[in-house]
């Protein structure tokens, strides 16, 4: 897997899978399958996963931390769907402290028995990207302080 920044508002993640385009397309668009892998760090489940796979249709994801009950949600709208190779959707977080949209493009390229999945995440504006970057750093620092406290 590689993570690069092709431009100043974009993050591009590339990963090769030993499966066909069709099977990967199904895994990234079928709620029963999405809930089994799109879970983030350990300890989170996905109690809500709704996908209305058509242009203009909406998606709704909600994750829950089973240990402390924290919830984290996002919602989005599909802009473009080309079965089985390309999906573009716009998403934003429920959390009001994280306003703004990101445009997410999932592309599948087949090469024989393998398929390359490219996930492009483009922040709508530089301000939103900077807030996302800053909030993550704040969380990272808070988490390090918590670990430090726990070790004192």
């Amino acid at each position: 897997m590689t993570v690069t920044t092709p431009s100043d508002r974009e993050i591009l993640i590339t990963r090769v899978f030993a499966a066909s385009q069709q099977r990967i397309f199904a895994a990234v668009t079928t709620p029963a399958l999405i809930r089994r892998w799109l879970l983030g760090p350990d300890g989170w489940t996905m109690p809500v996963c709704e996908v209305d796979l058509r242009v203009g249709g909406s998606l709704r994801y909600l994750w829950r931390n089973e240990e402390d009950g924290r919830e984290f949600g996002l919602h989005g709208t599909f802009r473009e769907i080309v079965v089985p190779e390309r999906i573009v959707h716009v998403e934003s977080f429920d959390d009001a402290s994280m306003p703004g949209n990101t445009i997410v493009t999932t592309t599948l390229h087949a090469h024989g028995d393998t398929t390359t999945l490219m996930l492009s995440i483009v922040y709508e504006s530089r301000e939103i990207r900077d807030m996302a970057a800053a909030s993550g750093m704040k969380d990272g620092i808070a988490a390090s302080y918590d670990r430090l406290e726990a070790n004192l």
Partner: protein, 116 residues
Amino acid sequence: MELSGYKYPTSGRLDATFAALADPTRRSILARLATGEASVTELAAPFAMSQPAISKHLKVLERAGLISRGRDAQRRPCRIEARPLANALEWLERYRRLWEANFDRLDALLAETAEE
């Protein structure tokens, strides 16, 4: 938790950092400098590129605050500047961790469903 005194990166700086990191030659130069300081001649050696071309890349890296140049007029050794790089990489690292965990699970799911 309020962190007073912690400066968020300004928009311009993060742009410059990302633009600097977007180029594979510049990423290679940074990887080389991570092992210690080097002159332009030393940096140009592994690339099929002229010294002026390498110097252009170094100017971009310097403007982004990712490297600094020594005062020695002859050699002007380049060295890596850790802070802006660490800020940008920390952000990308979170994406990497998140999507690596997701894609490893997707990989396992695809293997499992292939057998069904």
